[in-house]
């Protein structure tokens, strides 16, 4: 083969190679390597830590019903209530402090009833399935034909309530079985009580709690009324009068013999939980949200919870602080607020006036005067701020907090909670699981938590 033809062959092969390449390139599709799956959330096995509990101070500020704290309605001033213990040396909590074990017809509203009936009918979860099977055929038929009318509801109620109450007695046995309650979130009180192996009325209490856990949207009640003793292990604090003053039931008693009102309950907790209490005072304990820059938190528009009520209080000067605020306003502003109607479609003007007034007040020297704030329950934070030296940043913060305390229902509170807002004083360490009110500030977490729960 001559050199020339070798060259020719080489050139020909080259052309072929280039052509093949061109075709290959044009027909190629992009490629990317696979991605590693993202590291997922993990479920927490302790319970919701949202501040859904209300402290005594919250109730006072809300002008709520404080009759539960009026101990001497039932108790005798002269003699302390006796303590009774069961065979396992657990304190037997009086029924009055627990609430009735059995359901009554009034406990279940029409919406809740509809929900329960639907779940019975579907009986897709084990508890509903069990309950469904406990009904006779005719009873099941009634529920199948249930429609939300008054007649129908009455009938349904007559079936549902006894069925539930049967569980509560349950022939003296705990209703709990792992398979039955798989996927159901149990409350702190429930789990605590289960560990105590209760008998008798305590067992009925437990079954009631289990049912409430199984139907959290239909059968919920305010668990703050429920006292389940479990403060510490090994039956520590298994005695009411470790914390309560037996000679004066309206007071709490820490170890050093001080007398504390229910509003000062944080000091009671702190008398044993010193390091946590000190952290809490410095702001380093527990969940917090909002502003690290405490000085720069003037009120923003979403922090006015109840504009009509606020304006109303101001223009009627119904209390000394409102009077003080009203006097700070200029005439035109007063006129504007006087003419403000709650149904106004554009509250912006009024809102701006209000915000401006609040900002101005915050910028001033401390607005605290004893007679101005007489009758207003002050929170721990402003109290401790006032005891400290006067500094500009703290002053703004102080005024803000004082305004919050003066208008607790109308303005959003930016200060930290007290112990009982998160912790159940009788049972450790967190309250029963209840959905926190309002959407989570970070939408995605809320969604993820929901889908997480839905998967279970």
């Amino acid at each position: 083969m001559t050199t020339n033809s070798k060259t020719g062959i080489t050139v020909a092969l080259l052309c072929a190679a280039f052509s093949v390449l061109a075709v290959a390139f044009l027909s190629d599709s992009g490629g990317a390597r696979g991605n590693r799956p993202a590291i997922p959330l993990v479920d927490t096995n302790f319970l919701d830590t949202s501040t859904t509990r209300q402290s005594y101070a919250d109730l006072v500020r809300a002008n709520a019903d404080l009759s539960d704290f009026d101990c001497y309605v039932c108790h005798d001033k002269k003699s302390p209530p006796p303590l009774r213990f069961d065979a396992n040396l657990n304190l037997i909590v009086a029924e009055e402090h627990i609430g009735p074990a059995k359901f009554s017809a009034d406990d279940i509203g029409s919406n809740e009833l509809a929900g329960i009936v639907q779940r019975f009918r579907g009986h897709s979860d084990p508890v509903s399935a069990f309950l469904w099977q406990s009904l006779s055929n005719s009873q099941q038929l009634v529920l199948v034909n249930f429609k939300p009318s008054e007649q129908s509801s009455k009938q349904a109620r007559e079936i549902v309530v006894p069925a539930l109450n049967n569980i509560i007695t349950n022939a003296g046995q705990s209703f709990y079985e792992p398979g039955r309650f798989k996927g159901i979130l149990l409350g702190a009180e429930t789990m605590l009580l289960m560990q105590q192996n209760p008998a008798g009325p305590a067992l009925a209490h437990l079954n009631r709690l289990l049912l409430e856990d199984a139907y959290p949207l239909e059968l919920s009640r305010n668990r703050q009324d429920d006292i389940v003793m479990g403060h510490g292990k090994h039956g520590r604090n298994n005695n009411c009068f470790n914390c309560h003053n037996e000679t004066n039931l309206t007071l709490l008693q820490p170890r050093d013999g001080r007398d504390l009102t229910f509003a000062d309950s944080a000091q009671l907790c702190g008398s044993c939980h010193g390091p946590t209490y000190r952290d809490w005072l410095a702001g380093a304990h527990g969940r917090i949200s909002g502003y690290w820059d405490r000085g720069s938190s003037p009120f923003s528009e979403d922090e006015i919870r109840d504009l009509p009520k606020l304006v109303d209080r101001w223009r009627h000067q119904s209390d000394p602080v409102s009077g003080f605020v009203w006097r700070q306003l200029s005439n035109p502003e007063q006129v504007l607020l006087a003419n403000y109607q709650p149904s106004a479609s554009n509250p912006k003007q009024a809102q701006d006036v209000v915000l401006q007034a609040l900002s101005k007040i915050i910028g001033e020297p401390s607005i605290y005067q004893p007679d101005r704030f007489k009758g207003i329950l002050l929170s721990p934070e402003p109290t401790s701020l006032m005891q400290q030296s006067q500094q500009d940043a703290n002053l703004a913060r102080l005024n803000r907090l004082l305004l919050e305390d003066a208008f607790p229902l109308e303005l959003t509170r930016n200060q930290r909670k007290v112990c009982v807002n998160c912790h159940n004083p009788h049972a450790p360490p967190f309250p029963s699981r209840k959905p926190a009110p309002g959407p989570h500030p970070l939408r995605e977490i809320a969604d993820m938590a929901e889908s997480h729960a839905a998967e279970k």
Binding site: T3, T7, T10, V11, L21, F25, D28, G30, A32, R33
Partner: protein
């Protein structure tokens, strides 16, 4: 001035043209490389479009084969120029021409380095941020900025030196000392610095204890000086082979075949010297009376095409100066013939063997009818008493393309010493990592024995160590003096060091991560294609450089034959290839 530009442009144009001319083997080789380059380019385009997700890299192992190759090639580039030391400092004549090939290898290697760094960037479109003055150049704090400076400076340095020397050879003028000798010395220090700076890229990271060790810099240099010269040994043999032929071509073939002929000869006269002085200006400085002394010992020969002036192996003590015409010098090596150079008017042949009384190293054959001045060794010595004549004759002695075995052996000894040091440093490192048992040895453990059921790199590193130790042993034994064994040893060195520097240094630094996560790394197909593409590109560049420089060094591509008209109608690519 414009004339100078024009001349330079013609020179460049001819160099570029010749890159497309060759025989079928050349086309096949270049074609193969081009195909691989295109594959690499396509793969890179995919990476540019979709991002570095098409590679096997991840946040855990954020540098991969791109930087591994970069590290290796910086070493090659540094070592290539280290051959300069024997030539310019120790005046080793054997390596003289190899220096150019070494520097050209350095240029090709640096181009590959720059390519590897560019393909590794996430946003290559923002390259201008690196330009000092225009962008924000973090010099001197960031070692990467140092690396940018030294690599580009090194590239410019070598391009200048090679370009200048080749252009001077092309013009057959003597290179001005100040235009290249200072740069050569700068290049020596710069070569050490580019690899040290690259080492400092790694050493300076306190968060990666595997790299944060003083031994990394010396290991880099030792391994570079092993792999670089090894590559050159192999490359030079390729050049030698490619520029030689099984049988001598052209005029030389006739000379080899034909019996020695009697050429017409006569005594030399002053006119002959005058003729010589026209082309060899230095000869004019010889005083008249010296010339008179020399004349009796001088002859003038008229030779025809194919006449041999001198033959390889003969011992004859006459030196020749070409008065008119041209002579080609062909050397036989191991049954193959290679043109070492051509001599035109004013140039000399046979002077080395005449002055040193050694056998002729090659055969000199007239390519056309020529007039040649023949001098005895004594006559030459007398003439060389004139300082200018001495200088020009001596400098021209080195202007030939000789790749002697002796040169290769010199390189071998560089490789030998470097490999010994390299293995010694490896032993040091292994001892330090494993003897004390402290916790920072996680990466070393992963590399040498595996960690936590992950051991992808273990076979690699042990292969590399086996290769390196075997190569070291072979280098120490005299058996590696034979070219066959030497070549095997060189291959072992190069592969072993590539693995050790690439897989064995860059990757384990990331495994485990500073937080202890084990994530292994495997280059993707796309990544591998890009690497092949860049290697092919580098080889392409180097081949082109050689294709341009060899004829220049041989004297076959020079200013003198610029004017020779092209055969009408022939295009370079398909013309009968010029034998080099």
């Amino acid at each position: 001035m414009t004339r100078a530009f024009r001349n330079y442009f013609v020179f460049l144009w001819r160099c570029a043209r010749i890159a497309f001319v060759g025989d079928w083997r050349y086309y096949a080789w270049m074609g193969l490389l081009t195909v691989i380059c295109l594959l690499g380019l396509n793969a890179y385009c995919r990476q540019f479009a979709h991002g570095l997700i098409v590679t096997g890299m991840s946040d855990e192992v954020s540098w991969g084969v791109y930087i591994a190759n970069f590290t290796f090639l910086v070493g090659v580039a540094a070592a290539a120029v280290m051959m300069v030391i024997p030539v310019y400092i120790y005046k080793n004549e054997d390596l003289h021409d190899l220096v150019i090939f070494g520097e050209l290898l350095a240029v090709a290697a640096i181009l590959m380095c720059l390519a590897f760094v560019t393909v590794d960037l996430g946003r290559p479109d923002r390259f201008w941020h690196l330009i000092p003055g225009i962008g924000q150049f973090n010099f001197p704090k960031s070692m990467l900025s140092w690396d940018v400076l030294v690599l580009n400076g090194y590239l410019l340095l070598n391009v200048h030196i090679c370009g200048y020397l080749l252009y001077c050879r092309y013009r057959k003028t003597k290179p001005g000392k100040w235009f290249y000798i200072p740069f050569v010395f700068i290049a020596i220090f710069w070569a050490v610095s580019i690899h040290t700076v690259t080492a400092f890229l790694y050493v300076g990271l306190g968060g990666r204890p595997f790299w944060n060790s003083a031994i990394v810099g010396p290991r880099f240099l030792a391994s570079a000086f092993t792999a670089g010269p090894a590559l050159i040994i192999l490359a030079m043999q390729v050049v030698r082979r490619v520029t030689s032929h099984p049988s001598p071509s052209g005029a030389a073939s006739q000379a080899v075949a034909a019996p020695p002929q009697a050429s017409k000869r006569r005594a030399a006269t002053n006119e002959d010297f005058a003729l010589l002085s026209r082309d060899l200006l230095e000869m004019a400085t010889v005083p008249a009376e010296t010339r008179q002394r020399v004349l009796p010992m001088a002859e003038v020969l008229e030779v025809q095409t194919g006449d041999a002036l001198l033959r390889q192996g003969e011992t004859e003590e006459r030196a020749f100066f070409i008065l008119r015409g041209s002579v080609v010098v062909v050397r036989e090596e191991g049954g193959r013939f290679r043109v070492t150079r051509t001599a035109g008017a004013g140039e000399q042949v046979g002077e080395i063997s005449a002055l040193n009384a050694t056998p002729r190293m090659a055969t000199a054959v007239a390519e056309e009818s020529s007039l040649v001045l023949s001098l005895s060794a004594d006559a030459l010595r007398i003439l060389m008493e004139s300082p200018q004549v001495n200088k020009i004759v001596r400098s021209r002695m080195s202007e030939r393309l000789l790749i002697t075995d002796r040169a290769l052996m010199t390189l071998r000894s560089i490789v030998q010493v470097s490999m010994l040091i390299n293995v010694f440093l490896l032993v040091n490192e292994v001892f330090k990592e494993f003897y004390s048992g402290n916790l920072h040895d996680a990466s070393s453990k992963y590399l040498f024995v595996g960690l936590d059921h992950h051991h992808a790199l273990v076979p690699w590193i042990w292969t590399a160590i086996t290769f390196n130790v075997t190569a070291m042993v072979l280098l120490v034994l005299p058996v590696s003096r034979s070219l066959k064994w030497l070549n095997l040893t060189c291959v072992l060195c190069i592969v072993g060091i590539w693995i050790e520097k690439g897989m064995g240094l860059v990757i384990p630094g990331f495994i485990p991560t500073p937080l202890g996560e084990m994530m292994e790394y495997r280059p993707s197909l796309n990544e591998t294609l890009v690497c092949f593409g860049i290697w092919a590109f580098g080889l392409l560049c180097y081949t082109v450089f050689l294709r341009m420089s060899v004829p220049i060094l041989q004297g076959r591509l020079s200013k003198e034959n610029e004017a020779a008209p092209e055969q009408p109608g022939r295009s370079p690519a398909a013309s009968t290839p010029v034998r080099v």
